[in-house]
């Protein structure tokens, strides 16, 4: 019952959640109708909107709103491990992402079937990559929501990630492909939500390449999925640690 209520809450915590869902599907439908996308344009669109902007919008203030309003003060006096609040809310977000992406796929396939326009080829890997990116971004945003008041977690994340990638692309632009991989570039590539890796995965860039570490060798596609899931877990653990160690108080009287 507890898990069910905490997951359900992520769907009903504000009317804007439904506005976000409807807006996403509307934008998606309009884009498809107007631009009749082929791969990889379709992938880029669904990947950016569904994997990055959608989780940011859905996770805005996911814990910060409760902390700012004081609602969390009652939740955390209930007899259960506080980490459950985090885990079930993230699960709720992940479910919302999955439902939305499935609806988007159904919409694309329906439009393609009815009109014989556009292309739905390779839609599976793109949706999987988008969902993996959605989870990583949602976990990072939820963790940030433990320490950032109200809905600023999403805004902050948007600014930081956009700035990070802008700086990386500037560095690459100035120094060319031979640019030395500094700590910052490596950090952005491997510790931030895995845009580049998942994009290549969905786009089929890895082909049959394998990642070899010592005597072990795994297909790069699988390594990419594992990397993405690991990042999601790492972000989540950080958020849970922050939440369980946090103090909650509105008044000092």
């Amino acid at each position: 019952m507890r898990a069910y209520e905490l997951i359900k809450e992520t769907f009903f915590r504000g009317s804007y959640i439904w506005i976000v869902h409807v807006a996403w599907l509307t934008i998606y439908g309009v884009y498809w109708w107007l631009f009749l996308p082929e791969q990889p344009e379709y992938g880029k669109f669904v990947f950016t909107w569904g994997g990055f902007l959608l989780p940011l919008a859905l996770s805005a203030g996911i814990l910060g709103d409760d902390i700012a309003s004081g609602r969390i003060c009652v939740l955390v006096t209930k007899p259960f491990w506080w980490g459950e609040i985090y885990i079930y809310r993230l699960l709720g977000l992940s479910l919302q992402g999955a439902v939305n992406l499935i609806l988007a796929a159904v919409l694309a396939i329906a439009l393609h079937t009815l009109t014989r326009r556009g292309s739905v080829e390779g839609i599976g890997p793109w949706l999987l990559a988008t969902w993996l990116l959605f989870n990583a971004t949602a976990a990072l945003s939820t963790s940030l929501s433990v320490i950032v008041r109200r809905t600023y977690n999403s805004l902050l994340l948007l600014v930081v990630i956009a700035s990070g990638y802008f700086i990386v692309s500037m560095l690459m632009g100035y120094m060319g492909p031979q640019a030395p991989k500094g700590v910052f570039v490596s950090f952005v590539k491997y510790f931030w939500p895995p845009f580049e890796l998942l994009f290549k995965f969905a786009n089929g860039d890895y082909g049959k390449f394998s990642l070899t570490v010592g005597k072990y060798s795994v297909p790069k596609d699988i390594a990419c999925v594992v990397h993405s899931l690991t990042l999601t877990v790492v972000y989540s653990v950080a958020g849970i640690v922050l939440l369980t160690r946090r103090q909650f108080s509105r008044e000092r009287d």
Binding site: E5, C73, R250
Partner: protein
Amino acid sequence: MLAQRGNPTGCTEEKAAVVQCRQLTKTYQKLLPGSKKAVCALRDVSLSVHKGQIIGLIGPNGAGKSTLLNLIAGLILPTDGAVTVCGHPARSVQARHGLGYMPEHSAFIGGYSAKATLRYHAALLGLSRDAVATQTDESIERLHMDEFAHRPCADFSQGMKQRLALAIAIMNHPQVLLLDEPSNGLDPIGIVQLRDLLKELRDSGTTIIISSHRLGELERLTGDYLFMHRGQVISFGDKIMTSQAGKLCVDLVSGGNEIARKLLPASKVLSVTDTELVIGLGDPREVPDIVCDLAKGGARITGVLMQSENIEEVFLRLCNERT
């Protein structure tokens, strides 16, 4: 006795205590550079609260009342000292099993109805599906919320919010109930219902700690108070009420000034006219002796009236003594 200052004593008392605070200190650190020094909200507070007691937590704004409640609820961590609830460290899951908490400002999911909110909180308690339904219906009936049980919380008045918050706090019969300004926004009927409910809970063995500025209401509920001032417990238990029992008004035919000068120490005389003497009392048992001495000293008494100090007067007196 409910509370102690300094070191708590007596092993038996510690065992029986439902809430135990030992040398609690809470300092809020300022995080921003350039801001003023840290604020000490609570300083070396020790107390024991026993089963079935109602404790009124009183004190001026900034005294540390909410900080103490938050520490007992486990919402914040003490800088020094320790709190146990039902024998378990505050903030532990075991301690929270026996705890009900109602904050001063309650917030709910705006789209949820009162019933859905109660169901949500009952589920958080880990109850089964049937128990959730039973608890929800029971709470609605107990707090007289039938009229607005299906309305969304976003439309609630302050009084409705208070009822809902209280219903959430008393769900599943907690052993310790922490209430922060529970009567805020309640209408007179609601206040009477709240009083009856709290008395009923006390009689069933629930320990209740209430922080409130409505002293008249507190007085009707309990004689046990914890007066706090600048983060310290100044006075505690029913000592507040007995420390100065009130005043004695003596009506005389004449000669009040002379009698006061001759028979009473100046510190005892609060006011005097030719026909009326007002004498400060430390203990109501002094009254027969005072009246007897006055009569023996030649005072022609026409009337005697003892006025007990109510909690509001005690509060003001304690505040004035400290400022």
